[in-house]
């Protein structure tokens, strides 16, 4: 057992140096606004030009073939440098990994390079008004058409779909009674005929997600991921990524925890808040080390991604709650900590609520009996 990071230090140094020279001196406007979205998209292009937008991907698609450890180190440096949030996150962290596992060579070649370059920003279209935690209850349909499929129905809570270019989602292609079995995974443009996007404001009013109304939207066969009817299996292979390390890497929490300590000190190091500040720092470190453990293991962590998801999402909330409590009466004022706090509050809800994750941990990791289904 060792924690020898010296082989990746040259890579760390290169990334740190580039970030020092390129990270915008003044923060970009909020990612969840039109102007902010555009600024973040431009930043993705800058990153891509330096081949730093998707370091772990193969070179042919815009990456550097970085190892999992190099990727973790990249993330540490990225957030330590205070670099902008990733507007492309649902594409590069979720869809791309599904395509690597299930996509055709044609899809990889067509979809990944523009995604890596920030030219096409992707939104996830899974949830529906009647299908949240119980995703298999979804009702939006994909019906066979000449050379492809026609999509109908409603999707909702689609992050950044108000400004994004394309979406990927699950549609019912078989009878509703089949639940998990009759689903197909498809990609479609958000500006296609028949798509209506209605932005939805989040807790602070910013249009962070959107409802999608689909009326006979045509999708060619080449944009089906995996086999028609196999959408559930295909989609669940990304679910682990969404809950695990990939979506929320340790780097962001390490950086936020260091800044929390600085904030606490700058505000007089209130002893009443000391334990909470220390705890956030300790937990960020624990998440980092757990990440090293995960990438060191040969066996597939599988359901343990749920343990990760509960941990990072609660850490994120606790960390930001503590920051706001340090800020006192100023906590409600617009600013980076407030933005982070509002963002953190959704963590226990998206990517499978923490209640659902706890059910999974209990049943799949601890082996407790499944609930009797009605």
């Amino acid at each position: 057992m060792d924690l020898d990071l010296s082989p990746v230090e040259p890579f760390r140094a290169e990334v740190r140096d580039w970030l020092r020279r390129n990270v915008p001196a003044t923060p970009l406007p909020s990612l969840e606004t039109e102007a902010g979205f555009a600024a973040h998209r431009a930043w993705e292009r800058t990153l891509a030009a330096a081949r730093l937008s998707v370091v772990s991907w193969p070179e042919e698609y815009g990456g550097r073939g970085a190892s999992p450890l190099e990727w973790l180190v990249f993330e540490e440096e990225y957030y330590a440098a205070g670099a902008p949030g990733r507007v492309s996150q649902n594409g590069i962290n979720l869809l791309a990994l599904t395509l690597f596992a299930h996509g055709t060579p044609g899809q990889l070649g067509r979809v990944l390079p523009p995604m890596a370059a920030g030219e096409v920003i992707w939104a996830q279209a899974w949830s529906e008004p009647g299908a949240g935690s119980d995703l298999a209850a979804l009702r939006a349909t994909a019906t066979r058409a000449d050379g492809g499929w026609r999509l109908n129905g409603q999707k909702t809570w689609s992050s950044r779909a108000a400004f994004a270019d394309r979406a990927f989602g699950l549609f019912r292609s078989g009878p509703a009674a089949e639940r998990h079995r009759g689903l197909t995974y498809l990609m479609f443009p958000l500006d296609a005929d028949g798509v209506t996007v209605r932005p939805v404001g989040r807790l602070d009013g910013r249009p962070a997600f959107a409802e999608l109304f689909l009326d006979d939207v045509f999708v060619p066969d080449r944009d089906v991921i995996g086999e028609p009817g196999q959408g559930w299996t295909v989609a669940m292979s990304t679910a682990g990524n969404e809950r695990g390390l990939t979506l929320r890497s340790p780097g962001r929490f390490l950086a936020a925890a260091d800044r929390l300590v600085a904030l606490w000190r700058a505000h007089g190091a209130d002893p009443l808040l000391r334990d909470r500040v220390a705890d956030a720092w300790i937990k960020a470190r624990a998440y980092r080390l757990k990440g090293f453990e995960t990438i060191s293991r040969a066996d597939d962590a599988g359901a343990e991604a749920s343990v990760n998801k509960v941990f990072w999402s609660e850490l994120d909330v606790e960390l930001h709650e503590t920051a706001l409590d340090i800020l006192g009466a100023d906590a409600e004022l617009d600013g980076d900590w407030l933005e982070g706090y509002v963002f953190s509050l959704a963590g226990p809800i998206y990517a499978g609520t923490n209640e659902i994750q706890r059910n999974l941990i209990a049943e799949r990791v601890l082996g407790l009996p499944r609930e009797a289904r009605r």
């Binding site: 060792d2 923060p27 800044r259 904030l263 720092w281 937990k283």
Partner: protein, 334 residues
């Protein structure tokens, strides 16, 4: 970078698990609490090399091997093994680092071989010596002085009857000088780390026994483990333990670096919280039976409460962590 135990380290854990399972610790814990200080298990641990992990080679040991120490302490915690094990390991570091050539040469080989039971105290930090009546040697580190000591009166009654705590008084000076507080600091950190590992083992055992119980105990016509309230308690317990463990191994790997005290404190605070929350869950999910002295898990539950505050409270350790976090540039999240 490979942050998982290697084959030999896993083997050490498996060997100890086997040995301790065969020894049947619940009966030993009860006998120890009644004052029966039989040394069969102690000698067996010595033969397996547990104590040698803290003793340097020149004194007949194999150490210091902090990762292996964490592995061993985890298994000892998992079986709630009684006796001043952590104290003896800490005493080895204290004797070795105190520039006390005579006592070191006399005691360290015996400690390594499992032939000496040692307890210790330190005014302010370790106010009472654990199992002092069972010890061949009691050390007392006070500022620049290292003394041998003797119990002063009977054990103080405590929550865990298997932890017999004695006030002690110094008798003979063994060493004096700046090496003593330095060695005492290292010994304290190693002990806190071993204590954290024990807590993780205690927590793991409590989680396992409680999951088993939840699968078999039936109420309302089904196993209680089917109820979500029970499931979520247990899922939380697992999450806490899973994220405290890497802190303990991370601390072990920083032994000898300036980060060691900070990393030990992070591990001890997290392990204390995780094990304690697991103990509360174990008690709650067992219902009344868990609250009884006769039922074995209670031996684990009370030991967790004791170790949570032994070798520094969670608040002490959190303060130490914060004191060691370096300044960063900004105080804004991005």
């Amino acid at each position: 970078m490979r942050f998982v135990l290697d084959t030999e380290q896993r083997l050490l854990g498996d060997t100890l698990h086997g040995l301790l399972t065969k020894a049947g610790t619940p009966a030993l814990i009860r006998r120890w609490a009644a004052g029966d200080h039989d040394r069969t298990l102690w000698s067996a641990l010595g033969e397996t090399g547990v104590f040698a992990l803290a003793v340097p080679e020149r004194h007949g040991g194999a150490g210091p091997l902090p990762v292996e120490l964490v592995v061993a302490a985890h298994e000892l915690g998992r079986h709630a093994a009684p006796g001043p094990i952590v104290e003896t390991l800490a005493a080895a570091a204290l004797l070795d680092g105190s520039a006390a050539a005579g006592p070191a040469a006399e005691w360290l080989p015996r400690i390594a071989a499992g032939q000496a039971v040692v307890s210790l105290g330190s005014p302010g930090r370790i106010r009472r010596a654990l199992d002092a009546d069972a010890a061949d040697l009691i050390l007392l580190a006070d500022g620049e002085h290292l003394f041998s000591a003797v119990p002063e009166g009977p054990a103080v009654r405590a929550l865990d009857p298997a932890r017999r705590l004695f006030p002690v008084r110094q008798v003979e000076r063994l060493a004096t000088g700046p090496a003593v507080p330095r060695a005492a600091a290292t010994a304290y950190d190693l002990a806190a780390l071993a204590c954290a590992a024990q807590l993780l083992g205690l927590g793991r055992a409590l989680l396992d026994v409680t999951v088993k119980y939840a699968r078999t105990r039936r109420q309302f016509g089904r196993p209680i483990g089917e109820f979500q309230a029970v499931k979520h308690h247990l899922a939380n317990a697992l999450t806490g333990l899973e994220f405290a463990r890497p802190l303990a191994y991370g601390a072990a790997l920083s032994f000898g670096s300036p980060d060691f005290p900070r990393d030990v404190s992070a591990a001890k605070a997290a392990a204390s919280d995780a094990a304690y929350a697991t103990a509360r869950t174990a008690l709650q999910v067992h219902g009344a039976i868990g609250y009884t002295d006769e039922y074995d898990p209670s031996l684990w539950i009370r030991k967790v409460r004791a170790l949570r505050s032994a070798w520094g409270t969670p608040a002490d350790h959190r303060a130490r962590v914060l004191a060691a976090v370096p300044e960063v540039r900004g105080e804004s999240p991005r």
